[in-house]
């Protein structure tokens, strides 16, 4: 008895278990919620590039050129594009979370509209940022 683990729910207890992820039909709010978390984790990784950028800048021209070589490579550009979208999505959806924290816009229509706005805005801002780089 003493070794029984009470922290994890088991089917054997006979108690009803609440349905988990695979039971529900996927809808926008669920997807955006998990994507918010995923982009947050990705952006934490992006902070390593941020650190590399500043440290390379302070180290000298060779280190800076090495960094630019990485960012300019196809893989580097791919990562940067992913991080740009992640940043704008996390930023836009984060603002939505801050609005929710005030108790506003929590009704179903507002949540759905807000989700669509966040998605469109994240793609649009990513396109604007990258277009600006290539136009400059």
């Amino acid at each position: 008895m003493a070794t029984e683990n009470t922290s994890t729910p088991t089917v054997g207890t006979g108690r009803p278990l609440s349905p988990h992820l695979q039971i529900y039909r996927w809808h926008l709010s669920m997807v955006l919620s998990i994507v918010h978390r995923a982009t947050g984790v990705a952006l934490a990784g992006g902070l390593l590039l941020f650190s590399w950028w500043i440290l390379a800048l302070a180290s000298g021209p060779e280190a800076f050129a090495h960094l630019r070589g990485f960012i300019g490579s196809p893989f580097g550009l791919f990562l940067l594009l992913g991080w740009t979208w992640s940043l704008f999505f996390h930023l836009a959806n984060g603002i939505r979370h801050l609005i929710w924290d005030t108790g506003a816009a929590l009704d179903l229509p507002s949540v759905k509209t807000g989700g669509v706005i966040v998605l469109v805005l994240s793609v649009l801002l990513t396109a604007v940022a990258w277009a600006t780089v290539y136009v400059l």
């Binding site: 984790v41 941020f50 650190s51 800076f64 801050l98 780089v133």
Partner: protein, 133 residues
Amino acid sequence: MSSSRIRSYAAPLARARGLGSAKEGVEHWWLQRLTALALVVLTLWFVWVVVRLSHATHDQALAFVAQPCNTVLLILTSVTSFWHAALGLQVVYEDYIGHEGARLGAIVLTKFAAVVLIAATCIAVLRIAFGVV
């Protein structure tokens, strides 16, 4: 364990003591929001910096960072981003890592890494600002 818990003579308060909230959650929640609010402004500024410096030479980038306003904003961006990331990763660990030791280890390592990278990036920015580079 479960049956002894049901038959326990301890009062509900005595059983709950030490198992529940340590009243630390509010601080985490509040700091996550406070850093988020600051990052709304700081990240928009930082994206503009990255776009602006995308074609800059090493010297041009150094000159940009050395401008007092940019030095301050860059340091604020570093501290706020790393702290926001550490708080966010902590919640992810708390949700997905079941083993208590591994969970605590991940949280501690992340906080240490955040502090190390904050120190390294801020000192690098200051060296550029003071012309030590």
